[in-house]
Symmetry: C2
Subunit: 493 residues, 2 copies
């Protein structure tokens, strides 16, 4: 069967509710909770035996700020004006950004934190000042992106915006989703059906979406939606055909990062109903050159032995930069004082060790003289606390003067970095799905990575943007669907 079923062809419905939510990850559970809170009856259909999605697999940082600061930011002494937050997001994504979505997010992010606390997700009034991907100290606020790195520092005052569930470390997803899923489970207005894969959208003669067909117990079930259908089925990193077609440059060298259901179902259902998938060539690429933070004292060079960015950037900006180098090859040069294994890149390989830079260079096979020149130039300026090429912060500048020195391979083919997709359906801030002409597909909403949201490129990404965006847009999609006039059931329901 196709992804579109005509309403007139449905002989019998198995049920009717106000709002149907397809996919019970971070976006879906928030859509369900908000639609229900607005008075709508909700049916959630989840492909697997339990909800959670990629949000549950994550540390569940949420990237939030604006309005003077979230409650957590303010209570910890950080001010974050909406202008400052917007400036930062604009520095991140430039022409890639959807201005209307950025506005809505900047306006609503602080309230979103309060909503999450009101749901019962615990946050600790404690700030982690280190440089790490996820604070393992139990603290709930930390820097997670490029806020303290050039060129972002020229556009926006540095403020920590990563909001982590208390005492959760890498298990924040289980904490946050545990709370939200339990709230949904105990909400009388929400029915959750697991092991129910949505195969088709039901559309009326005018093209409006008014239900879904889902495979349950090996039989197609037809559900009517009085108000609307929310697609919250994740991205497409697990769909090998789609990644080949849209992110070809990464297809051969990456580890697919997500849950097994990230097969693009929501995007494909949405486009079949007239939606438009955009930003499909962009993906998050993780080259985690820290922690431990001391690795930031190292420098990265390409196969020409030249530096190519400030090493105090966020890991996905490093991933983007490595991807742009010749043959996608890159190496960290570091001295004995700061040498360590990178915590999250087990495949990083030492390619050369030596008592002098020349010795390392010779052993590495890099062009003779290039690395020596790069290190000498770096050392001379680092001694003065300066990095005239890439403006790495003085906190991370130190001449390499303690042999032995090492060169560690961070090439993409060696690392096989974690990658996930950043393209999806074009939507309004309300979640309403748009056609290529930006007309609304009536009755259809998308949220989370099924839509193209706030984060648009690896170079501008920060940890917490996906979970913040997914939960934020899920809520809005649920509310928007619940605000729609109810259409009467067809016969037979």
């Amino acid at each position: 069967m196709g992804r579109i079923v005509k309403l007139s062809s449905v002989e019998r419905f198995d049920g009717a509710v106000d709002v149907i939510v397809c996919g019970l990850g971070g976006a879906g559970v928030c859509a369900a909770l908000e639609a229900s809170a607005a008075g709508s009856s909700v049916l959630v259909l989840e492909r697997f035996s339990a909800g959670g999605g990629s949000t549950q697999m994550s540390a569940c940082e949420m990237y939030l700020g604006g309005n003077g600061g979230t409650t957590l930011q303010r209570e910890l002494g950080f001010e974050d004006s909406s202008e400052n937050f917007r400036n930062y997001l604009e520095a991140c994504f430039g022409d890639y950004a959807d201005p209307a979505k950025v506005d809505a997010f900047v306006d609503g992010a602080a309230e979103h934190f309060d909503w999450m606390e009101a749901q019962g997700v615990p946050y600790k009034r404690a700030y982690f000042d280190g440089r790490d991907v996820v604070a393992l100290t139990g603290d709930s606020l930390q820097y997670t992106g490029n806020e303290r790195a050039w060129p972002f520092t020229e556009r926006s005052a540095a403020v920590p915006r990563g909001h982590l569930p208390a005492d959760a470390g890498h298990s924040g997803g289980k904490v946050l989703m545990g709370v939200l899923l339990e709230n949904a489970r105990t909400c009388t207005g929400i029915t959750i059906r697991c092991d129910a894969r949505v195969r088709s959208l039901i559309v009326d003669d005018a093209g409006a979406v008014c239900g879904v067909a889902a495979k349950i117990d090996n039989r197609l079930h037809y559900f009517f939606a009085h108000q609307g259908v929310v697609l919250s089925a994740g991205g497409f990193i697990m769909n090998e055909q789609m990644t080949r077609q849209h992110i070809a440059g990464l297809d051969g060298c990456a580890m697919r990062h997500g849950n097994p259901g990230d097969t693009g179902d929501g995007i494909l259902l949405g486009t079949a109903a007239g939606g438009h998938a955009i930003n499909m060539g962009e993906a998050f690429v993780c080259v985690a050159h820290y922690p431990p933070p001391q690795l930031t004292f190292g420098i990265f060079v390409n196969e020409q032995g030249q530096r190519f960015l400030n090493e105090d950037t966020y890991l996905a900006r490093m991933g983007d930069a490595v991807m742009r180098q010749t043959n996608q090859r890159a190496f960290m040069f570091i001295d004995n004082r700061n040498f360590a294994r990178p915590a999250y890149q087990e495949h990083a390989q030492i390619v050369a060790v030596g008592e002098t830079v020349e010795e390392v260079e010779r052993e590495s096979g890099l062009p003779g003289g290039a690395l020596q020149q790069t290190v000498a130039f770096y050392n001379a300026h680092a001694a003065n606390g300066q990095d005239p090429l890439f403006h790495k912060h003085a906190d991370w500048l130190s001449p390499f003067d303690e042999p032995p020195f090492a060169l560690v391979d961070y090439s993409l083919a060696t690392l096989r970095p974690a990658v996930f997709t950043l393209g999806g359906l074009d939507t309004l801030p309300s979640g309403e799905v748009l056609t290529p002409d930006r007309d609304i597909v009536a009755g259809l909403y998308a949220a989370g990575r099924t839509a193209a949201g706030i984060p648009r490129t690896s170079a501008g990404y920060a940890s917490g943007m996906s979970v913040a965006d997914a939960t934020f847009t899920g809520r809005r999609a649920g509310r928007a669907a619940a605000g729609r006039d109810r259409r009467p059931s067809p016969g037979g329901v």
Copy 2:
């Protein structure tokens, strides 16, 4: 009205033919000629008052080879095995390539040249050995891409593959399209209607495409197609909404290169009928750092004063590389011996001139010492005919030893480089349009830049790939449509 019209809703048809071709550029005219040659009646609908498309605006090089060489290659003494041609194309596009399309093109390109000569397009048995974008000597064979540049030389023997109409220079498009359009005009089986913009595809209840609705004289006309519809309406570089959505990173700094009809109509019609647009984030970016060829002796540096590629590459590979540098900034450093204005980049600006590299560096504002270091390293190796960093060919290596020296700004924001799109509908080599599941959309074909074809990235592009691909795929789409069983007309035709 929408892009899809139901067959059952069409009350009266204004005509019926076997094959309808939408767009009379290089792809469309070839589709029409081949469908007609196969015995089908053809209606061509062209949006503007005359055909030609972007093919006619171009120099009309065709990038061809394989099978031991085209007739022109062989008669000029060049051998080009299919393996060599395939190796080159694989080096160009890697994971981005569609293997089935590459196979079909490698197999058929030599025959395609003979077909074009048989149509009456004149080619001169004369080879141009220089480094130029388009030979202005009247010669018909030249190098047009990265064939002689690293790393391509490691994968494939260098062979010239640009086939230019004789004595045409930049007017090759008028020559080639002049011949083909006249052949189509005088072909009794082909009807051409200009000032006819296709607005919708007509589909039957099974989703098969069986006609079009076109605006002619401010009234919608409905045409039935017994066999099929070919979309050959160009790319989407003139559609500002689509470029913002799909090639955001270039949207702000580029000059849109194409004909005014490159508004994505074909792609949008195709996706509305169930087709799938792929490779949409990729675009050709022109940074024409030559001719004159002597400019190739210069070196390019980024805003860190570092080189970033071998300067003997093709201009679109340079465009891709500049795009990847910090702030998309790049500069050519060159000495008095080889200084010249670049022929095709009128906006390139001299930012510094000096008697020493240091003087140039100081005046330019580049980080102190970086450019000097880069030039010293380059000079030392160039004196030995070597470029250990990027392997520029020895023919273009010469130490900078004749002051004054100059630094010329080739940053994207300064140049506003010509850009056109490389994404489009996913198709089989036959031109049949594919759904996201790679099922065939019955009755629908796409060719030229309405489809994602052979050229997929700027980094791998060579002049002549678009015209070769457009005309080649146009022919195949026309033949495939003409090979389909005829369905009877509905009532009223």
